[in-house]
């Protein structure tokens, strides 16, 4: 493939005991694109996400991010490299306001620590100012600027999901992984979500999403990768993938049951 891969995997494998969740997956994701990973339940989509995010170690194979091998890099360092993820179950910080949630996302882009915090040293004040300015910027990006002072969990689910994206965006990522961003949203919220994701792409950030909602995926994704039982069975544009007999079989096979 052509030069600008943001993420690459080479025979990436993950086994939990005897169960092989991902089996020798080769992927190559283009920078600045919206890529969707789809597949029936248990296909290994979330496992793939967790491997990229560093939640657990790979069993074998390699993951490369912008040409650098990721395998041994601990999860908390990947955010500083430019990889960030959201969660299917949102995982907002319920003990903070909306704004503070987004401010937490600035963690890898600031550096002052205990000592500077304890005595409000100039570095702390300086960074704190840029943290809140950036946080407000990303809050406005998802349209939640007016909710800054509310408790995070007081928002309806749709806005919580947007907030989670704002929080992730606050890390200034190169690659954002969205785990089922559309789950539980109504039609209007889904449309807002699609606009937001396109906006993010316009900012030059690569987007990967795992999603069950096919209309949403087909409307958004420029490249679709289909997993089934831990294997990659197809990839291509939305139109190509939809016609692929293997994909149809995988989905029909599931639905007929």
């Amino acid at each position: 493939m052509s030069g600008s891969e943001i993420l690459e995997t080479k025979s990436l494998t993950k086994a939990f005991g005897g169960l092989v969740a991902l089996d020798k997956i080769d992927l190559s994701l283009q920078a600045g694109k919206i890529t969707a990973i789809i597949g029936p339940n248990g296909a290994g989509k979330t496992t793939l996400f967790n491997l990229i995010a560093g939640v657990y170690p790979v069993s074998s194979g390699q993951i490369y991010f912008q040409g650098k091998i990721l395998n041994k890099i601990p999860a908390h360092k990947r955010a500083a490299m430019g990889i960030v993820r959201t969660f299917q179950h949102v995982h907002l910080f319920g003990n903070m306001t909306v704004l503070e949630n987004v401010m937490s996302g600035r963690h890898p882009r600031s550096s002052y620590g205990f000592l500077e915090s304890a005595f409000r040293l100039p570095k702390a004040r300086r960074e704190e100012e840029s943290i809140s300015l950036n946080a407000i910027k990303y809050l406005n990006l998802v349209g939640l600027g007016t909710h800054a002072e509310h408790d995070a969990l007081s928002l309806p689910l749709g806005q919580q999901k947007l907030l989670a994206i704002a929080r992730a965006m606050a890390t200034d990522p190169r690659l954002i992984l969205l785990d089922e961003p559309g789950a539980g949203l109504n039609t209007l919220e889904k449309r807002q979500l699609s606009d937001l994701i396109r906006n993010i792409r316009e900012m030059g950030i690569s987007v990967v999403l795992v999603e069950h909602d096919m209309p949403l995926v087909m409307g958004l994704a420029e490249w679709v990768i289909v997993l089934d039982s831990g294997q990659k069975i197809a990839e291509g544009t939305a139109a190509q993938v939809q016609k692929n007999p293997k994909v149809i079989a995988a989905y029909l096979g599931e639905e007929v049951e």
Binding site: M96, S104, G105, S117
Partner: protein, 326 residues
Amino acid sequence: MLTKVKSKWNYLVIAALLVLLLLIPFEWFLGQYTHLAIFIGIYTIVTVGLCLLMGYTGQVSLGQAAFFGMGAYVSAILSKTYGVNPWLAMFIAAVMTGAFAYFIGYPIFRLKGNYLAMATLGLGLIMWILFRQLVQYTGGPDGMVGIPYLSIGGFVFDTSFKRYFLIWFFCLVILLISQNIVRSRTGRALRAIHGSEAAAESLGINVDQFKVKILALSAVYASLAGSLYVHHLRFVSPQSFDFLASVKLVVMAVIGGLASVWGAIFGSGTTHVLSEVLRKAGEWDIIIYGLILMLIMIFMPGGLFVKLKEIFERLRLRYRQRGVEP
């Protein structure tokens, strides 16, 4: 506008509390309670550390008395047995206790929830046994007497009146520092860990390291409090650092409201005043004490301090409405 008014009120309340604190030890005011107020201050320092650890970071410690005791004993032994300057002894104790907490933090925080509670409980028991058994250093169950006072130049903190100001100075500085930490990048990281470790990690927060550091900080607080304790009482015995002491510390943190640094004063204050008042009830005291704790937990699960703030806020709003509307 509203926040401006609010902050003006906050300053008023803080100023009132400071004046109250300043006047307490004077004979014509509450002088007879100086001793009690000193203890409230000492335990507030330990409780603040627990608030940071439990309330903000969500990590339980049932062994905080271990660090409290370490500070007390290291200070006592160095200053009495080896004649080290008490201030230096206090500093060494804090560094030792903090380093100790830091190193045991890594294995301890591999555990979560109940297991973490068990491990810290074990730590508390082990330290307590050490205080009792290392007789040649600690004096065993009888403890140590004749620990020197703290002094600055020729000024010796040899009366309760003087020590009251010294201890509350430490207490307020520590409260202020903790407040700053809570309202910073560090504080957000700690609360993020409490909120969701997975999400915190995904945002680049080094979860393990923050947990260990906050444990070490809370241990340093406890150690400082322990040092102040022995240089105040000039006496130390293992009894003050047993399992019950750790539980009492947790109770203070919970009553004060885990999610507020200033609540620590209320937690420590309520607990001490309560046991002082209940002393008159003789053997019934523990029952009444338990009952009051239960009531507080049932009706004010956010802690006494948070509830008081709520009530205050409501009164203020009512007052303002009456003032503004015809």
